[in-house]
Amino acid sequence: MKVKIIGENIHIISKKVKDAINNRDAAFLQDLAARQVEAGAWGLDLNVGPRKRDGHEVLPWLVEIIWDVVDVPLSLDTTNLTAIEAALESVDDPSKIIINSTSAEPERLEKVPLVAKKYGTKLIALTMGKGAIPVSADDRVNIALEKLIPRMEEVGFPIEDLIIDPLVLTVSGLQEYCPQCVEAIRTLKVAWEPPLKTIGGLSNVSNGVPREMRPLINRVYCAQLMGAGIDMMIADPLDEKLMEVIRIIEERDDSTPVGRLYLTIYDKTAAMEEVTPDDVDMNDPEQVAIWKTLQVLENKVIYTDSYLKM
């Protein structure tokens, strides 16, 4: 089964994107959308931030101009529910919209599923209640089983349209969460009938990490998440090396040594086995870097900004 990539690049954190939205520069955003889809994105995430004042104008406009150039599902990534409703009112086919997101916090869990149900959208739900994000996989899965799913059943929202996000967090500072998120995906995949769909924001795993190291961490974590059975990832489809790893895994392309190592990570994660030094050619610097990254992501070696040099 293929993992669906939701392109992350239309994000308010980028200054250019922010300016383009503020200036209603459709061309820039349309280009960014088209390039992501060409690169293999299955859908696109539109993160406009809270945008209290004009979210209800911005989001419908954004959806409209994006759908003018690409015909893919859109994930509306904002806490501004009014903006989301305005966008949903303006579109013909809300079933191609993903609301991103609800959580198990009472206020959001009360309102957001009702909107999703009313318009027939898909819905991303975070395994996070009030208070700290739980570290352990089981605690996160329990939030899905005890809070999120019951609420969906209560409002009659179809579980098939629910997408659980157990929250990818950064290895820089929140390292102990990284392996647990992989386990949470694995557990969620068998938790329900019909099986739950799962999603994760891949790039979050390298937030705060020096820029040049981020892509490698993202690639290795991607192989782990795929091994655990993740269905969708919010990620950067313009990252060619990342897309190449996904291709290698999906096509089981074992023609290169590095590709074989990624396949091993994928297979062993799927089998709940450990990758060992025997799986790695320690004379190949690229494989060594992958191995070190895996050690850090599995929380076996303490992360630092210079872990690759050690």
Binding site: G173, V301, T304, D305, K309
Partner: protein, 324 residues
């Protein structure tokens, strides 16, 4: 049926560090202090080596401090204007080594100068034969200026120089390397940062056996649980073979404990807090001992009664016991 004692096999060890140099070694110290070398978690003699006990440093200042608790000034007040006399008195009160912290300003509020810092260090070195650590006042520019001068003036003494922090470690590290001293690497209660700064200092060429790790801990009641767990995690990583976390750990329970309200303030506090002095000493002792259980090697303290009590704790803990 005999019970199999569960012993952990560790692949790593804490690195040994030597502080202070005797005349034969190019210094003037009458003894040196060696810490580290453990191959097990604290004091589990039955599964590994604990070759050196944790040591206690007494903290002294280059001039009478403005903000120390009256309870501390009761003890040190008569010598606080003379770092040499203070050093001597600290030695008499059981210090294994000394920490001299340099003040930001002189008594009149003028910035401290390298000349005065060097003078204070010289007085301390003359008055006491104990190994010495010298920390700057904690402001990057002044720290560098003062510590470089101190480092040059005390070349060969194997001082511990501080404070190396993420934003300001290069100058101190460079001067410590040039003059055969050690450095203390301080980060804020975080395993990643603690390890990272050691790497950065080591990258400059400083040998690992001359880098002490100060993970900062918080005082009892003020975050000690974080410091405690950060230290346990660093020590576990060290024993598992992570070379950048294998340095001996240096902690400052004296400074931490004596800055909280429970120790600083005698009046206007809840009755349930009890007698001021008894409480204040217990605060420092509890902060220090708890952190000894989580892996401290060098314990910097302030009150002589606390020092005596923690010494007794360490002595007891160094008795090897075979479980049966």
């Amino acid at each position: 049926m005999p019970i199999e004692i569960p012993k952990q096999k560790w692949s790593g060890a804490v690195r040994e560090a030597v502080i202070g140099a005797t005349p034969e070694e190019g210094g003037t110290r009458k003894k040196k202090v060696i810490v580290g070398g453990q191959t097990t978690m604290p004091f589990l003699h039955f599964e590994g080596e604990v070759p050196h006990p944790p040591v206690i440093a007494i903290e002294i200042k280059d001039r009478k401090p403005d903000d120390w608790s009256p309870l501390l000034m009761e003890v040190w007040g008569d010598v606080a204007d003379d770092p040499g006399a203070w050093a001597k008195k600290a030695e008499e009160n059981g210090a294994d080594l000394l920490l001299l912290t340099l003040s930001l300003t002189d008594a009149d509020g003028n910035p401290n100068t390298p000349e005065r810092a060097v003078e204070a260090v010289k007085k301390v070195l003359e008055a006491s034969g104990l190994p010495l650590m010298v920390f700057g006042p904690g402001q990057a520019d002044l720290d560098n200026e003062l510590i470089v001068a101190v480092s040059d003036a005390a070349k060969g003494e194997r001082l511990v120089l501080g404070i190396c922090e993420e934003q300001n470690y290069r100058t101190i590290t460079a001067t410590a390397m040039a003059n055969d001293h050690l450095v203390s690497s301080r980060t804020a209660m975080d395993v990643n940062l603690a390890k990272q700064l050691v790497i950065l200092i080591h990258d400059m060429g400083m040998p690992l056996d001359r880098i002490l790790i100060d993970p900062t801990t918080g005082a009892l009641g003020y975050g000690i649980e974080y410091g405690y767990s950060v230290m346990e995690r660093l020590r576990l990583a060290a024993l598992q073979g992570d070379t950048m976390t294998q340095g001996p750990m240096l902690i400052t329970p004296g400074e931490e404990a004596w800055r909280v309200k429970e120790s600083k303030v005698g009046e206007g506090v809840p009755e349930a807090w009890g007698d001021w002095k008894e409480r204040a000493i217990n605060w420092e002792v509890t902060t220090a001992t708890a952190l000894i259980y989580s892996g401290a090697d060098i314990v910097i303290m302030r009150h002589p009664e606390s020092v005596a009590r923690v010494h007794a704790v360490i002595q007891d803990l160094m008795t090897a016991v075979e479980p049966a």
